[in-house]
């Protein structure tokens, strides 16, 4: 068998025998990557669970100072962005390039909104001294070691926020490449993989939201 047979599409890398194999490999690789992400966050969820079990009253008291309104807004914003991301994939499957770009831009704007809301939440907490670890100066929470609550809060939402920012960067790249005509109904792996990543980021938030804002 020769290295490059005539009629092979240009996006097929030389070490794959067909497009299907290449797509399947990318998908499996992406799922494995998502597993590592879950395990990475898993450590932080364990952190939360253990300290909540040790200081239940402090955690309940600390819940009252987070802004449920902003948290709810952000939840709605992020779930909506997952919908637009899924629609972007569907549009490319149907070969509608401009519609794909439109949905990707919507996803980007929603992600931006999420980060802006997050900024205001963080800024408010910085003003009040509701900070992690030894920077904690707030006095309004009763219970033992309230700084640990904010350590967990900032680490978990912070790491999640970094993931949102990385996702935004990838979406910008996707918009540029989609405009340049890189993708087609036969080849849209990058958009699909970004979609998987984006849904995971969304899913992690869906766990963070009740843990920090709702459970009292």
């Amino acid at each position: 068998m020769s290295q490059t047979q005539d009629g092979h599409p240009s996006f097929l890398q030389h070490h794959f025998s067909d497009v299907e194999q290449q797509r399947e490999s990318a998908k499996l690789g992406m799922w494995l990557f998502l597993v590592t992400e879950i395990l990475l966050f898993g450590g932080l969820f364990v952190f939360y669970a253990i300290y909540r079990a040790w200081h239940p009253e402090m955690f309940i008291n600390a819940h009252t100072v987070v802004n449920i309104g902003m948290g709810t807004t952000n939840t709605i914003v992020l779930i909506t962005s997952s919908v637009t991301m899924a629609l972007a994939i569907r549009s490319m499957q149907l070969g509608k390039q401009s519609q794909t770009i439109w949905f990707l831009v919507s996803t980007l704007l929603l992600a931006g909104t999420f980060m802006v809301v997050k900024y205001f939440e963080y800024a408010h907490k910085f003003d009040l001294g509701q900070l992690p670890g030894k920077f904690y100066t707030f006095t309004g929470i009763e219970g033992t070691n309230p700084h640990v609550f904010f350590s967990a809060y900032f680490l978990m939402t912070g790491l999640h926020g970094i993931h949102v920012l990385i996702g935004m960067g990838i979406i910008v790249w996707l918009i540029i490449k989609t405009r340049a005509g890189m993708f087609s109904p036969q080849y849209y792996t990058h958009i699909e993989m970004t979609g998987l990543y984006w849904h995971l980021v969304d899913l992690i938030w869906i766990f963070l939201f009740p843990l920090f804002y709702l459970v009292g």
Binding site: H14, S17, G42, G43, Y51, H147, V148, S151
Partner: protein, 538 residues
Amino acid sequence: MNKIPDTHYLNCKKGIKSWLTTVDHKRIGILYLFSIMFFFFVGGMFAVLLRLELLTPNELYISSDTYNQFFTLHGAIMIFLFIIPAIPAILGNFVLPIMIGAKDVAFPRLNLASWYIYIVGALFAVFSLVSGGVDTGWTFYTPYSTTTTTSVISITLGAFILGFSSIFTGLNFIVTVHKLRSPGMTWFKMPLFVWGMYATALIQVLATPVLGITLALLIMERLIGIGIFDPAMGGDPVLFQHFFWFYSHPAVYIMILPGMAIISEMITAHSHKKIFGYKAIAYSSLGIAFASFIVWGHHMFTSGQSELAAMIFSFLTFFVAIPSGIKVFNWVATLYKGSIAFTTPMLYTLAFLFLFSIGGLTGIFLGALSVDIHLHDTYFIVAHFHYVMVGGTVIAFLGGLHHWWPKMWGRMYNETLAKISCGLIFVGFNMTFFTQFIMGANGMPRRYHLYDEMYRPFHAFSTYGSMVMAVGFFLMAYYLIRSLYNGKPAGNNPWGALTYEWAVSSPPPEHNFDDIPITDHGPYDYDKVVAKSTLTEN
């Protein structure tokens, strides 16, 4: 007379840039070979310096602070920069795709990225080495690691980054094994090396992220005092140990499973006999991978976890012995009535069987609660893990390096010098570490700089052993480097083995295969297939 082919992966493209931008899995394996061996040398030098210092009970030439830094750097460099990446990144990268009939790994660019990430992580480790060292031990236990003034952050950040390199290699292998096998290469026709790499890759992907977050939390604890591990901030130092060993126990199987994978290949190739119990060996790799995740508490018998937890962890620890035992018995059974060739790889295989059995059995002692109370934190532990890690993994790695050296470079090394070197390493190793079992059982604590006069003869003997071992390693470096220039051309199949990598030329062509190979026999069907190849007469 064998000839080296005119064009192969080493000379198809020229120049340093072609190496630094290569996506060829074989060239990436070679890049890893040189970088990892460099750190093996650095870590080894620390070991020699440590042994030299321990020649006498009192201070010989370094202070206690320097001594603490030396054993930390020896451990951290050997674990994170040498033994974890060594077999998968060098030998796995080189032979795994060829073994399953693929032209490359599934994600070649990710593969190259993993090498660059390795280099970046290594630079952080080197930075902490020159900026004052680290004295926490390679385990970075809190609360000491959150209070010491040495460069803990840069070395843990280095280990964090190296974790990504390890994850990318593992992820690549899993996808490659699932999706890139050639037609006819079913799961149970895969060479056992591939099975071992696959099991290793599963642990790499599932355990390493936890180390990542643990080290990230340790760094945050040092930077802003988040209060998770530091008792002064309301944290729990034992929680760090749980987090750390949840990764680091599986990690010792990341180290040993690839060694076992190599032994499975070498024992059948050099005894020219079908492997005994193929499926049992394949499944036991997965069994070890699974068991590795449920035994981490046996590192913490004395650190204050509940007695019930300690009992459960002790009980579970014994389970690890079952798949390991299955492997050892199958290897020995493979030798029975085989046509054993006493080549260098075979000598390493036999050394492995001997040393790994001692290392594994002493692990059972340590898994028993009452015995562990007596032996924990003594030289018995040091001897145990060196028997597994050096006597097991490093010996297997060296054997594998000799086994595939002719494939990598197309040339043979000097067989006589190789056997002498193997003998020196084997004897030196036992002198160094068997002594430590006795010392440890008599109560010599690990990591002590100054010790009681009664241990002096043991320490001295151990130090002499390490010198013998060092001579063996330098001899190896000499003849391996020399073989690159004037070794005899090896031919495609110097061992008469049946796996795919021996069907292609030595060194292999750039894209491995001109035609995608089709499997019609198993990898070890020595009884069915008369190997067409020539057994070299050296």
